[in-house]
């Protein structure tokens, strides 16, 4: 389903009595998502400059959740303030300022990637071709969620798109590199999970005692590198 291009007047909806949802589109799209992160960045900047009306913005694929302090502003004031920030966003060229690429070394297959062979078979690829496709391009951190430090990365090459596992695993080991739908990601903690496990990394995606604790920040670029 392809939606309309981003309109000049974004939709701002109340999300409860102390947050707004800025809806910038209705599809999974790198450009739309870049605009979401640009808006998040502009809210972070005004917060750093002492504007305490706003809370921490949370990116979705094509929307931004923006909490506000309902003791300081009414819904109408918050709405107008956010609209002003959206209107002052840079033009499209600014949105694609090069981001540093975070490289994540991955041991593919074997005990580290128990689903690699089965997935390759289902996609009519060899394991080597699958790894080559998975490591070919840099992915965008569309958003974080599920558990602390879990980044939803994409878009995945079309050849690798597969529905998630019919039965989720009770325990996915920390550091597992996985795919599902148009997305890929790394499990930062041992959790249940329904994605297909292709490999594993020693990179520490989440360390609560590190600053910043999440290796992957919203909007960053990520490339997987196959290691022996």
């Amino acid at each position: 389903m392809s939606g309309a291009p981003p309109s000049s007047e974004p939709e701002i909806r109340p999300f409860g009595d102390s947050a707004l949802l800025a809806v910038l589109g209705d599809r999974m799209d790198v450009e739309l998502n870049a605009r979401v992160h640009e808006l998040a960045g502009s809210i972070r900047r005004v917060r750093q400059h002492g504007d305490r009306r706003w809370g921490t913005p949370v990116a979705g694929y094509c929307s931004l959740l923006v909490p506000y302090d309902l003791e300081q502003v009414t819904y109408g004031e918050a709405h107008d303030g956010l609209l002003g920030l959206i209107r002052s966003l840079g033009d499209a060229t600014r949105l694609f300022a090069p981001s540093p690429v975070v490289e994540i070394p991955v041991r593919y297959g074997g005990a580290d990637g128990p689903d690699l062979e089965g997935v390759a078979e289902r996609l009519a690829l060899t394991s080597a071709q699958l790894v080559e496709l998975h490591t070919a391009n840099a992915y965008r951190v569309f958003l974080l969620g599920f558990v602390p430090g879990f980044a939803y990365l994409g878009p995945l090459p079309r050849e690798l798109v597969l529905p998630r596992r019919a039965t989720p695993r009770q325990r996915v080991p920390r550091g597992s590199v996985a795919i599902a739908g148009e997305q890929t990601g790394v499990y930062p903690l041992e959790t249940p999970g329904g994605w297909h496990l292709l490999g594993r990394t020693d990179a520490v995606l989440w360390d609560v005692h590190r600053q910043p604790p999440a290796l992957l920040q919203p909007g960053a670029l990520v490339r997987f590198v196959a290691v022996g």
Binding site: P14, F15, D26, R27, T56, G60, L143, G145, F146, V147
Partner: protein
């Protein structure tokens, strides 16, 4: 200082939470009943959001190692020191050698505060325990036998015997409360009468409810328009009434995931988070619509009330708040 003999069903250190890391997937956590946390702390002259003990349904048994004063607020879970009942919404002197126990009561969550707050390391700006990722509080876990609860400030015995002054600020912890909601952001993904159907029936709290969310069910599930496809994941808020395809809502709470993909029909207003946090399995709950202006006013009144009480409690000798000794 208190020592844990038995931990109870789920007892964790919670404070006002950590709102600043939601963009990297960290839930706010913190007390599910923020008003009760504030009351337990303000009674002792602490900052409203200081770390306290959140106890769930079945409270712990605590041995008093050194004489101290504790604040108690939230649900009445049947607190006793030895055989003497301890009222919630008050401070109590606990003598060394005695034992505090909870014998069962009503509501879901009670809060116990100690002078200055309970000592626990700050993780990402908060002492709140977040169990799914194992950080905050005491080593990222619920209390275990042998754990010690240490106050951050010296004990002032004059603080014992104070009671919370404002009845209006003690929410009615009924087992059949009404939660006020505003319309959610995804009304176009529901059958036209879904909001009516949310308001017009009793909902029962299901046992799978936890700190992430309160699950409720009713005779007529809510109609979700599946033809609209799945929602792309987006940010979520505390109080969101999320509706999965089975039409039985989950009302998000302190530990809710930062993003979600179920449509949100309505959102519980901020002033009613305390009531949400006190829902126990089997309770019946109703929903009523208010406007954003009414929601904001309700929260403003709640916060103004808290500040007024804080000023009174902050005075050196708040004699007007002393419990009549005859009334115990």
């Amino acid at each position: 200082m208190l020592e844990v003999v038995t931990p109870g069903l789920l007892s964790t250190i919670q404070d006002a939470g950590r709102p600043d890391y939601a963009d990297v997937g960290v839930p706010t956590a913190g007390a599910c009943d923020p008003l009760a946390l504030a009351a337990a702390n303000l009674l002792l002259g602490n900052d409203a959001g200081s770390p306290a003990l959140e106890m769930t349904l079945t409270g712990p048994e605590l041995r008093v190692l050194t004489t101290c004063v504790a604040g108690l607020a939230g649900a009445d879970l049947g607190a006793h020191v030895e055989d003497r009942a301890l009222a919630p919404g008050a401070t109590h002197l606990l003598w060394a050698g005695s034992t505090v126990s909870f014998r069962g009561g009503s509501g879901a969550r009670a809060y116990l505060s100690l002078p200055g707050g309970i000592d626990a390391p700050q993780v990402l700006g908060s002492a709140s325990t977040y169990l799914p990722a194992g950080f905050g509080g005491l080593e990222g876990r619920a209390l275990l036998p042998g754990d010690r609860l240490v106050p951050l400030s010296p004990v002032d015995p004059d603080r014992a015997g104070l009671r919370w002054p404002d009845r209006l600020l003690q929410p009615a912890y009924a087992s059949s409360p009404t939660l006020r909601v505003v319309a959610g952001p995804h009304h176009d993904r529901f059958a036209r009468d879904a909001l009516d159907s949310l308001r017009d029936q009793d909902w029962e709290v299901r046992p799978e409810s936890d700190r992430m969310g309160v699950r409720v069910s009713a005779a007529s599930p809510l109609g979700v328009r599946l033809e609209r496809g799945e929602l792309l994941s987006e940010g979520m808020v505390w109080g969101a009434v999320q509706v999965p395809t089975d039409g039985q809502p989950i009302i998000l709470m302190a530990d809710h995931q930062t993003v979600g993909g179920y449509p949100v029909l309505a959102v519980v207003i901020r002033a009613d988070r305390p009531l949400l946090g006190q829902l126990a399995p089997g309770d019946r709950v109703r929903f009523a619509s208010v406007t954003l202006e009414e929601a904001q006013q309700a929260y403003q009144e709640q916060q103004d009330g808290l500040r007024k009480v804080a000023v009174r409690l902050g005075r050196k000798d708040p004699w007007d708040l002393l419990v009549d000794s005859a009334a115990g």
